[in-house]
């Protein structure tokens, strides 16, 4: 992950896999499916975060994560074990997620509503305030182009680096940073009234 203040990042940007991962990859390539378990445990949560950003729906995200792991396993012999497994997996997750979304386009999804269900139960006043905040941020995010929205969420909330996001979305890290800059600017503009009312 990149330097700077903010929440700790869940994925380290190592250019090569650590010894444990390299060994697991080698064993899986030799047909030892049990060794795949280590990779599943290591990358399952980050893969889910990526899938959720694409789909905005918890159960669909779980399905896509499972699909992506199986697709990775089926093609594991084509994988260069000198590289980390995660970025390759995340790219599969994004591709599968986009296909999944197309296939189920008739389903209405609202990522913020779904995500909000995970929260605790606040009091009536706090709930009203929170609803207003959620609506404002939801509107601000919905007004962003999809790539900007995904980039800002993956970077700020999920802790991925620009390079990792670029690998997932098939764009350069510089483009990711540009999208991030644009998204931040847009969100600042749209949320300015919240800062004023809070101040």
């Amino acid at each position: 992950m990149s330097e700077g203040a903010g929440p700790p990042t869940p994925v380290a940007p190592e250019p090569t896999p650590d010894a444990e991962e390299a060994q697991a990859l080698s064993r899986v390539q030799d047909g030892d499916v049990e060794a795949f378990d280590l990779l599943v445990r290591r990358y399952m949560r980050q893969a889910y975060a990526v899938a959720f950003r694409v789909l905005g729906h918890r159960e669909d995200a779980e399905d896509v994560v499972q699909e992506a792991f199986l697709a990775a396993l089926a093609n594991i012999r084509t994988f260069d074990t000198s590289r980390r497994f995660g970025p390759w997996l995340y790219r599969i997750v994004v591709t599968r997620g986009l296909n999944f979304r197309k296939a189920r386009s008739r389903r209405t999804t609202d990522p913020l509503d779904d995500a909000g269900a995970a929260s605790g139960v606040p009091g009536p006043a706090a709930e009203a305030e929170r609803d207003e905040l959620r609506a404002s941020i939801g509107e601000a995010l919905a007004n962003l182009p999809e790539r900007q929205r995904m980039v800002v969420q993956l970077f700020e909330l999920d802790g991925f680096s620009g390079a990792e996001i670029g690998a997932m979305l098939g764009i350069s890290p510089g483009t990711v940073r540009w999208y991030l800059h644009e998204a931040r600017q847009a969100l600042r503009g749209m949320l300015a009234h919240l800062q004023e009312s809070a101040g």
């Binding site: 990149s2 330097e3 700077g4 203040a5 903010g6 929440p7 030799d30 047909g31 499916v33 795949f36 378990d37 599943v40 399952m44 889910y48 975060a49 959720f52 950003r53 918890r58 779980e62 994560v65 499972q66 792991f69 199986l70 396993l73 089926a74 093609n75 594991i76 012999r77 990522p111 913020l112 779904d114 995500a115 909000g116 269900a117 995970a118 929260s119 929170r130 905040l133 959620r134 941020i137 939801g138 995010l141 800002v152 969420q153 970077f155 700020e156 909330l157 999920d158 802790g159 620009g162 390079a163 890290p173 510089g174 940073r177 991030l180 800059h181 931040r184 969100l187 600042r188 949320l191």
Partner: protein, 142 residues
């Protein structure tokens, strides 16, 4: 929030903790607390076991199945051999119990001696083809 001018194409900007806090407070985080990770992991591994790639990435071949079941097959073979041996061993005393006893009625002894000279299946065919109640009765009365 982070200074808007503080960014570069060459390196990631510092994370904007204020913006992240707002997004998170509004429920923008992925709802990973709702996910049953153990169940998801088990589901993935169960599915992975059913779609194991071959050495060359192909689907599973018949010899993969044989290799997988070889221990069970060996155990089943050993059990079958032991079971068959046990049945043979128990069959010995049972045959002796059927041996002709000197205390048996003379007619039965004579019949048994005749029957003993023929194979079992020949005796059975003979009885099934020819035996009628009156014949047995007549033979027995002689």
């Amino acid at each position: 929030m982070t200074d808007p001018a503080h960014w570069s194409l060459d390196r990631d900007p510092p994370r904007d903790s204020a913006l992240a806090g707002r997004l998170r407070a509004a429920g923008g985080g992925a709802p990973d607390s709702e996910v049953d990770w153990d169940r998801l992991q088990s589901a993935i591994m169960a599915a992975a076991g059913g779609s194991r790639p071959g050495v060359h990435g192909a689907e599973r071949e018949w010899w993969d199945v044989v290799v997988r079941w070889r221990r069970a097959a060996v155990a089943a073979s050993v059990a079958a051999i032991l079971g068959a041996g046990g049945m043979v061993w128990r069959g010995g005393p049972a045959a002796e119990e059927l041996a002709i006893s000197e205390g048996t009625a003379p007619e039965s002894v004579a019949l048994a001696r005749v029957v003993a000279d023929y194979p079992d299946d020949a005796v059975l065919v003979s009885f099934l083809d020819n035996a009628r109640a009156d014949e047995f009765t007549a033979w027995g009365d002689r």
